[in-house]
Symmetry: C2
Subunit: 336 residues, 2 copies
Amino acid sequence: MKVTIYDVAKRAGVSTATVSKVINNRGKISAKTKAKVLKVMEELNFEPSMFAAALTVKRSYTIGLLLPNLANPFFAEIARKIEDRAHERGYNIFMCNTDNNEEKEAKYVSLLRRHSVDGIIVASAFSNLTVLDQLFNDNIPVAVVSQDIPALSLNTVTVNDFKGGYQATNYLLSLNHTNIAVIAEDLRSSSDRIKGFEVAHEDAGVPFNKEFIRHGFSSVEGAMEETRKLLKSDQHPTAIFACNDLLAMGVMQVAQEYNIQIPQELSIIGFDNTVLALSSVPALTTMAQPFDEMGKQVVDLLVQEIQGEITTKQTYMLVPELIIRNTTAKPSIVNV
Amino acid sequence: MKVTIYDVAKRAGVSTATVSKVINNRGKISAKTKAKVLKVMEELNFEPSMFAAALTVKRSYTIGLLLPNLANPFFAEIARKIEDRAHERGYNIFMCNTDNNEEKEAKYVSLLRRHSVDGIIVASAFSNLTVLDQLFNDNIPVAVVSQDIPALSLNTVTVNDFKGGYQATNYLLSLNHTNIAVIAEDLRSSSDRIKGFEVAHEDAGVPFNKEFIRHGFSSVEGAMEETRKLLKSDQHPTAIFACNDLLAMGVMQVAQEYNIQIPQELSIIGFDNTVLALSSVPALTTMAQPFDEMGKQVVDLLVQEIQGEITTKQTYMLVPELIIRNTTAKPSIVNV
DNA sequence: CTGAAAGCGCTAACAA
DNA sequence: TTGTTAGCGCTTTCAG
């Protein structure tokens, strides 16, 4: 049988109210009583049930985390940071892999509500706005990370994708590449990165080839297929901006397939700076997402809202950072 | 205000007991009453609090998952599968990153107990046996995945590391490599893999160089350092067996650093088959861990124990599978 | 500084 | 088939 506050109270010769006070370090208790209670708690290896407490206190100290798929290093990285920070703040994380599937999203949210989570962090696409609306009506705080849901006003932490795209492109341009292609997923973040790509060209006065902007691929295979087409074309690009590291890996595989030297014959830049970028051969130049900061900010925002410390919704927009490694170089004459 | 069972009962004109019954689909209720209650629940967007229920029913339908670090693709992969299966079985997962740090382990376990988890899955090294002992005394089911804790008898799911090491080595031997090195972490699983390496050599009647067995590295950097030493030695190896994919990436980076062609001049085989193996260039030959099966089995084992369906502890030992990709080939004459 | 007692939202006998 | 009632383990007034 689990040991309860009654067991502790009886053994310590005090009331449960007193025990409760020492557990929560609240109210006035004599040092002596406190010491005695603490000792008994120790002896009994007592852990107070947050369930029972939550019932009156209406706070579970749990947060739900909705993301598409942990097996994707990008989300794994964020999840890690979020969990860290949440734990620091005394909250536990309920992990939910939605696969960006509306049905799963709804199911998880329902489950999370039954579990009385104090708030929810959304890192998945979250197509299901109805569900979010319900949460809103039910007064369950929601914070969003790594995307913006323009239809709703929520606490949000994003990274400046436009700027990321701009800087990545700009770096390539500064290396004298004038023939740059983009491979992207079909996400809002991607289109912002692409916009950055375009504006960087305009600002530099370098024209870009619209044909070289390819989007709609989320898998390595998709990226590979597209890269093949790109590299087969007459005036093929000397550099490719892959909108995430995974896609960049696809590009690199095709380069090897075609016996194209990286970075001598083809420069590649990724986005995210996941473990893939660091471990790839050659190591990938990429725009780093500030995972640590992102995780920290979302949970802080959410926790603040939970604890009623902020009432207005806020948006943090962090900036990605260029990490130069070994997949980028000046275009060689050979290749032009 | 959160809507409660009382609100539903009142609005539906029935007692809370009746509502409880329809929630849990238990007892006898007329179709009519049931329909009415269901309708009201829908209208009120009611989600029963598992907290309150757990208080009497003594089951929270939550499971704690302890692992070192989600940012490590191996654990991310397992976590994903575990979460999937748990969810299928109606359980939610509490995520805990321990960094293999005893203090964190203890803190998390304490937190999990306060949250009244029904059971705990341990995927981290778990140095802290005292804590596990407490769980045992408290009758909290624990299942272990991807390792065995010989000191304790617990439900366990592992993969046959000896066999994995044997098969990896054997494949290399079958390719006619006779000069094979191993790079490993300092884990029990690694020593089993190394044992497999040795026995495979003995069985094939090929002597192996003890100097070529290097262990104690857990980072890419460590692997790189060691690979440099290995490749600098006079009679350097023609193949390297890296005891996990991440280490293999380190080996590949050094190979490129030294301008050594893979697989022509050096074969590499990894272990795990994480996303790294698939996306590396060239794609990595590796021993695949059966992540899906592992995840499924641990949660099934744990859930069975929770629900009292099994009383004896069980051990599943799954087998890894050789996935041949592009980092392995026959040794070239040049290199001998 | 300490304790008695009510109540949080739900379930589980037991009556009706 | 449905309702009454007594907890589950903890917190919180409010007295003492």
